[in-house]
Symmetry: C2
Subunit: 184 residues, 2 copies
């Protein structure tokens, strides 16, 4: 399978599938960094957030608005309440449908699926099907960034670049609360 | 020592010392993400790059210029040639002197010292002295982000938030070259 995949893709200017996973900080922020970098290179970028609490007040959303970056936040605030879970599931499926239209569109140079591992984790979307769909349909030169803990094996195998962010020390452990500009 | 340190800092709105280390990708890009987030929150930000090859052509520098973000690149391209090492050492010391003026300046909300672990690793700067200086002089509410592999123990102990980026899979291993918007 990897052989077939490789042969379909040019070696220079390859559209990378990038996964930022692990329990540490920096998964989303590293994606934001690539977003900024790509934007600086005049690339067409787009973000779809699957689950995010801080919505329109977050620094990244405020920044994206000023930069004219296309940004979709379909996930509402996430809780473990069953009612919320169901609502989140529906929204996550909608977000994936939207994502698919961007991922097939070669005019996008970089697409970020933030917290996309959650719908895979909860099996609202089947990881195997998602990967098979990406293999078939992803615009070949487009870079795709997927963030979130617990990236499924299928996705890790499919991805070109996988980084695990590991927590060494976290200020929440010391009772320090989330702060603007840092957590949101 | 941590007790003394803690008592000097307010618990809400604490200026965090953040370290992104490890051999994986995402150390600098996560710092860039926080930069974007903080910029979006109208915070005053500043970046000092200690060692970086791509200079003014990099997406982050191009983006920072458009965003009006203060950005200093004092490290020139890094090689292992001894002549270059010496030049890099001098530049790194200059960069630290500049950094000190920013770190003591409470009008900066967030300062990024990109690849700052290198001068510590090579002992051009003494990690203990740097940490002691930070303890004494850092503007208390300012967030300070330090990136680079092999963060010294003193710095890890001093920091509030430490993340290790671990490589799971990297496209360079597959012979895929660095690309604009991704690596620079």
């Amino acid at each position: 399978m990897p052989g077939i995949l490789e042969s379909n893709r040019p070696c220079a200017g390859k559209g990378l599938v990038i996964v930022n996973t692990g329990y540490g900080k920096g998964k989303t922020t590293a994606a934001l960094g690539l977003l900024l970098r790509a934007w600086g290179q005049n690339m067409r970028v787009c973000v779809i957030q699957f689950i995010k609490e801080n919505g329109s007040a977050s620094g990244e959303v405020l920044a994206a608005r000023q930069l004219g970056i296309e940004w979709h936040t379909l996930g509402d605030g996430f809780t473990w309440e069953s009612q919320d879970l169901m609502r989140t599931e529906i929204r996550a499926r909608d977000a994936w449908a939207l994502a698919q239209t961007k991922i097939t569109d070669s005019t996008y140079d970089l697409v970020v699926l933030d917290e996309f591992t959650y719908p895979l984790q909860f099996r609202w979307l089947d990881a195997k099907e998602v990967v098979a769909w990406l293999q078939e349909n992803k615009a070949p030169l487009q870079h795709l960034i997927i963030t979130g803990w617990g990236a499924p094996d299928e996705l890790v195998q499919f991805a070109d670049l996988v980084t695990e962010m590991q927590k060494v020390k976290h200020p929440f452990d010391q009772g320090i609360q989330a702060q603007p500009g840092i957590e949101f």
